[in-house]
């Protein structure tokens, strides 16, 4: 996997993971979607979040191998989480949409 492509891909997978995990919490669910999440939705969001984190680690290992992959994983997760945390209070809706918009804008150029 091309390293630059992997960088963007894992960043957005990590971003999606953290968005799901944050939406599973009352405070952030209220911020973005209003109201509290039901227990079913909460469970699904949590499982999705953790699954995406695992996926991100696997993607890193594919791109960088198991020595550097985890380092890239930690770094990209930190960057993604920082982006989410400081975007949420200012533009909660946009922060949620970014999970779709970001990959659409950043990833296709690699296939051209």
């Amino acid at each position: 996997m091309d390293k630059h492509f992997a960088t963007y891909l894992v960043f957005f997978v990590g971003y999606a993971a953290f968005l799901a995990l944050s939406l599973a919490m009352d405070r952030h669910h209220a911020q973005v979607l209003h109201g509290k999440p039901g227990s079913g939705r909460r469970l699904i969001l949590r499982l999705t979040g953790w699954a995406l984190l695992a996926l991100a680690l696997w993607l890193c290992s594919q791109a960088w191998g198991w020595a550097i992959g985890p380092v890239a994983w930690f770094g990209l997760l930190s960057a993604a989480a920082l982006g989410l945390v400081f975007l949420l209070p200012y533009a909660p809706r946009f922060a949620a949409w970014l999970v779709v918009l970001g990959p659409l804008l950043a990833l296709p150029p690699f296939f051209l």
């Binding site: 550097i68 990209l76 920082l82």
Partner: protein, 535 residues
């Protein structure tokens, strides 16, 4: 019990953090900038404009070494150390270094590789990005600086651990940042920045200590190896035995054929030649291979460019280590991995950017912590120092401004100094760094003379202007500018200027925030004054 533990950790985090925060901020900021020391040097030496320097042929390299040997033999025929840096894409000049004795400082000259004449002011003489790296690990203060940085790094580890204990709701507040809430926002920001980059912060602090492990913690070598570091490291690295001085005069072998033999032995181009104990029977010469970033970016351990060691008198081969081979046992491999992790010697630009982002987050975490300390106490004095409290607070405020806004200002000003200082001035590279420190000192003076909020605003405003104006000053002084750099695909020059502009915008955003706050604060101060008068 748990409550008391948290209380004492809170005390430790507050005060241990505070007294080290300024120095840690400097270490983090310059270290983060140092991630891009090569692009910064590239920008400062105007290498983008020079265009590609042709790589040397083997004969040219041999000729360069000959020229350097001739020059050094004239300058320092009995030096403890000679270093010859062969020209490469980044540096067209031949670099020579020498040191008379082990304790004396290194001398350095740039030579024309064709005729060995000292290069004058033909190019911008600068330390470039290395200035930030040196600031980062030794504060430009040699061994004393390394010790200070080490102590601060231990304080950082302690602050991280105690910070985790103090943070009551790491998981509930994991994604929480509440802006425009005064003290609450500063705490949220401090927590989020620290928690989200915690793996990086632990890694970078611990590996930073490990780089200088033998200096910081020599007890093991002293007790178990009689303190003989040279033979200890020879055994550890499974290298050749050290060659102590014999104090017998001997004539140095021609270096250029040894360089060619070294290149053949490691099957790689030479980049650097080191001679130790020049003029003594024990003299040795080591030929280092050129670093190949493509071959080595995929691995953490066993990345080496190879080197060959010869007896510098009779030319016998002492030792050859081929590129990318591993020597020593598993523990040494762990230590080397830790070094590689600290220096981001892997993964290329994507990884460097991740380090840069995480490093800046850490830098911002330190700044928010220092500011939070004063925000809390501006609202209500905690009266920790009795009658001296206001004076101590004032000192902390001044140091906050100087360490955070002042150093940021000095760092971006260093780029301007590089462009504005005349080219033909003597010791130009040293002057640049002196001016950097003088400016930083001036920000201290300024912070001491102005009211705190004004000092913050003014220093940040200057920093913002310097950041945003960087492409302009480059255009005015060198005729090169952002768009031509972009057009010729010089991403290093363009990257430096674009990144500086992003920081300019960040400073502007902070300024806007401070200006919005200020009227409120003035009102509050006014109402406080009337209240006092009324009473």
């Amino acid at each position: 019990m748990k409550q008391r533990f948290r209380q004492s950790m809170s005390w430790l985090h507050t005060w241990g953090g505070l007294w080290f925060t300024w120095i840690l901020f400097a270490i983090f900021l310059t270290g983060t900038l140092g991630v891009f020391d090569d692009p910064i040097s590239h920008w400062m030496r105007e290498q983008g404009k020079i265009g590609d320097i042709k790589p040397l042929t083997a004969e040219q390299r041999a000729e360069s070494v000959k020229v350097a040997q001739h020059y050094l033999a004239g300058k320092a025929p009995r030096a403890e150390f000679w270093g010859i840096g062969l020209p490469d894409e980044a540096q067209a000049a031949l670099r020579v270094f020498w040191r008379e004795q082990e304790e004396s400082p290194f001398e350095q000259r740039l030579l024309d590789p064709a005729n060995g004449r000292e290069s004058g002011a033909s190019q911008r003489d600068t330390e470039g990005g290395h200035h930030f790296v040196h600031m980062h690990f030794e504060l430009h203060a040699g061994t004393a600086g390394i010790w200070i940085v080490g102590a601060a790094t231990v304080a950082m580890l302690v602050a991280l651990v105690s910070g985790i204990v103090v943070h009551k709701k790491i998981f509930t507040d994991f994604f929480t940042f509440r802006p425009r809430k005064g003290q609450r926002s500063w705490l949220d920001g401090h927590n989020a920045l620290g928690v989200l980059t915690l793996p990086f912060l632990f890694m970078i602090s611990y590996t930073g200590l490990i780089i200088f492990w033998a200096l910081y913690m020599p007890a093991g070598i002293m007790a178990r190896h009689d303190g003989d570091e040279e033979s200890f490291f020879a055994a550890l690295n499974e290298g050749p035995a050290p060659r102590p001085m014999q104090h017998i005069d001997a004539l140095l072998h021609e270096l250029s054929p040894l360089m060619l033999r070294g290149e053949a032995a490691i099957e790689r181009e030479a980049s650097f030649v080191v001679v130790e104990h020049v003029g003594d029977r024990s003299a040795s010469v080591r030929i280092f291979g050129r670093f190949d970033p493509d071959a080595e970016s995929d691995r953490l351990v066993g990345r080496s460019s190879g080197n060959a060691l010869f007896d510098a008198i009779n030319g016998e081969t002492i030792d050859v280590q081929k590129p990318n081979t591993v020597r020593g046992g598993n523990v040494l491999a762990i230590q080397r991995t830790m070094n590689a992790l600290h220096f981001v010697r892997f993964g290329g630009y994507p990884m460097k950017w991740l380090y840069f982002i995480c490093g800046m987050a850490g830098t911002a975490m330190l700044a928010t912590g220092a500011i939070l300390f004063m925000v809390k106490r501006r609202k209500k004095s905690a009266d920790e120092f009795g009658t001296a409290t206001p004076r101590v607070y004032r000192l902390i405020e001044v140091l906050n401004v100087t360490a955070i806004a002042g150093l940021s200002l000095a760092c971006i000003a260093y780029f301007w100094i590089n462009r504005l200082l005349p080219l033909d001035i003597a010791d130009r590279a040293v002057r640049e760094i002196q001016l950097f420190f003088i400016l930083w000192l001036l920000t201290l003076l300024h912070a001491g003379l102005r009211p705190p909020m004004r000092a913050w605003i003014e220093q940040l405003a200057v920093s913002a202007a310097l950041c945003l104006g960087l492409p302009l000053i480059n255009l005015l002084t060198t005729g090169d500018w952002l768009f031509s750099a972009l057009a010729r695909g010089d991403s290093e020059t363009a990257g430096v200027e674009l990144t500086a502009m992003v920081f300019g915008l960040i400073f502007m955003a902070i300024l806007r925030h401070l200006r919005q706050r200020q009227p409120n604060q003035q009102n509050r101060e006014k109402s406080l004054a009337t209240a006092i008068e009324g009473a």
